[in-house]
């Protein structure tokens, strides 16, 4: 399903590719046509580091179609260190260990499977706790 859409979004999904505004230096993710900081058009690509902190989170028990296998799962608002906030699932962490402010980093994981006979599996960003060194 929706193959052109998935193809179009692959740089965002696999590499957190967003934009930096050429007018005000504002970092933008997801990409937009108009910079929310200064109102000018923003088109210069910028790849985010993938590091951030949990701004909020919730444990989803009632999942929509395509996510039944994954449920229950944790969805978070992750504030990237460059500023923007991204919605993503958390992975490699127990639900009761998640807390606001927790440092996380991006990883690529299976996001969902379209349940139809074509069986498309979609990969993309999730976030996991930063490994302690």
């Amino acid at each position: 399903m929706e193959i052109p859409r998935h193809w179009r979004l692959k740089k965002q999904r696999y590499a957190l590719q967003g934009e930096v505004c050429p007018h005000c230096e504002g970092k933008i993710f997801p990409p937009r046509d108009v910079c929310p900081h200064c109102g000018n058009e923003a088109r210069t690509t910028f790849t985010f580091s993938g590091r951030g902190k949990v701004y909020s989170f919730t444990h989803v028990t009632e999942a929509p179609a395509g996510f039944e296998e994954t449920a229950p799962y944790t969805v978070a608002l992750v504030q990237l260190e460059e500023g923007p906030v991204v919605t993503a699932q958390l992975t490699d962490v127990d639900a009761d260990e998640v807390e606001i402010g927790m440092p996380v980093e991006m990883v690529t994981r299976k996001i969902r499977s379209d349940g139809d006979e074509r069986g498309i599996i979609i990969y993309g960003y999730k976030f996991r706790p930063v490994m302690q060194h």
């Binding site: 919730t58 444990h59 989803v60 996510f67 969805v75 919605t87």
Partner: protein, 386 residues
């Protein structure tokens, strides 16, 4: 702009109405509103609907519903703003009459949620979020509310149990509403034992999605008088519609509900009133956290303090600011794209003195607030008995 009055109202019972079609459900409400307006014939029909294109595989509802109701030759189309579609359709009807473009407009909000089943339903609901960056990672409407609730508790230290006041109040008020889905009271203990849906959000923090249709007939005061309508008329004194970012993650301050704040401000400024002057507030309680944030955005509480209003009786029918007077979305049921029109119909019941056991004493002015998503869009209206 001309004065606009609500000359007729109609609504169906809200629930899982398996045995009635989208078109017939809408027709019941449309017919009731026209009858209540002494049979006034509308020049236009504006439809509030969110999901029919997915759940019923049906678009062009304006034509379908007007055609089915025998309204040949009118202008008719859908106004879509997610769960604020009802508020959007009412806004369109108001503008059409106020501007002089038409003399009478019928507005119907309709949702046939149960035409879809199982996980199809959650997937259908997801279409009002950012498909590429919210729905695609498994976010749901309930999860959006869960994210806000978690952050609210963290940021302001509100007790988790405080949110129970809203569903408890909504259910208590729905007991006396013959159109409501849940006509039974619940207590705080039941609330606290409910299973999680998007923890910390539980089953009772979420209004049940359901089928329903509500309609109003808008016209000028002169036309309404000529029609010899016996019941009091309700004037639209103020209106405001505002958007925020579609995705929650794009907001610098997600708990601000800025669209709700500015919609209420505009509606009140237009009406020349302060929010505190209204006798009741039909706030949007699709999720209990949204009622809290809506109260704060409308200016009835400071940021982080809205939950306290539920604790001391202020919001009850005999309180300082009655809310959810006929049960809100939690008690009445949440017919999504129709919810905004239900709010208007219920406010009119109050302003006409027709709210039965739930009548707010001497109700003359009401405020309504209908949200799409987490206040991604917001419509506010100030209504006043003429």
């Amino acid at each position: 702009m001309r004065d606009v009055v609500i000359a007729g109202i109609g609504q169906t019972r809200v629930g899982e109405l398996w045995d009635i079609s989208l078109r017939s459900l809408a027709y019941q409400a449309m017919k009731a509103a026209r009858k209540d307006a002494n049979g006034l014939t509308p020049d236009a029909l504006y439809v509030g609907n969110y999901l029919a294109i997915v759940t019923s595989h049906q678009s062009n509802l304006g034509t379908l519903l007007a055609d089915n109701a025998g309204l040949t030759g009118v202008e008719a189309f859908t106004c879509e703003a997610g769960q604020a579609s009802g508020g959007a359709a009412f806004q369109m009807g108001y503008i059409a009459v106020a501007s002089g473009y038409v003399d009478a407009a019928l507005v119907v909000g309709v949702e046939k949620y149960t035409d879809a089943i199982g996980s199809e339903q959650e997937a259908a609901l997801a279409i009002s979020m950012d498909a590429d960056y919210e729905a695609m990672v498994g976010l749901t409407l309930a999860a959006q509310a869960g994210l806000l609730m978690q952050r609210y508790i963290y940021q302001y230290g509100a007790p988790r149990s405080a949110f129970g006041a809203f569903p408890v109040l909504a259910h208590a008020n729905a007991v006396n509403n013959p159109f409501a889905m849940y006509r039974r009271a619940i207590d705080q203990d039941t609330y606290e034992k409910a299973p999680p849906v998007a923890d910390p959000l539980n089953l009772y923090d979420q209004a049940s999605y359901a089928d329903g249709a509500a309609a109003v007939l808008l016209t000028t005061p002169e036309k309404a008088r000529q029609a010899g309508i016996g019941h009091p008329l309700v004037r639209v004194r103020g209106a405001g519609g505002v958007i925020d970012t579609l995705a929650l993650h794009d907001r610098p301050d997600p708990l601000a509900f800025d669209a709700a704040r500015y919609a209420v401000q505009r509606a009140c400024e237009m009406g020349g009133i302060l929010p505190g002057e209204v006798d009741l507030f039909e706030v949007d309680d699709a999720f209990s956290i949204y009622a809290v944030l809506g109260l704060e955005a409308a200016g009835f509480a400071e940021r982080g303090e809205g939950w306290r209003l539920g604790q001391n009786g202020d919001l009850r029918l005999n309180g300082r600011l009655p809310v959810l007077t006929m049960g809100g979305s939690k008690g009445r049921g949440n017919p999504l794209g129709a919810a905004g029109v239900y709010q208007i119909v219920e406010a009119v019941q109050q302003l006409r003195g027709e709210a039965g056991a739930n009548q707010v004493a001497d109700a003359r002015m009401a405020l309504t607030l209908n949200l799409g998503g987490p206040a991604s869009s917001a419509f506010a209206h100030v209504l006043e008995r003429v």
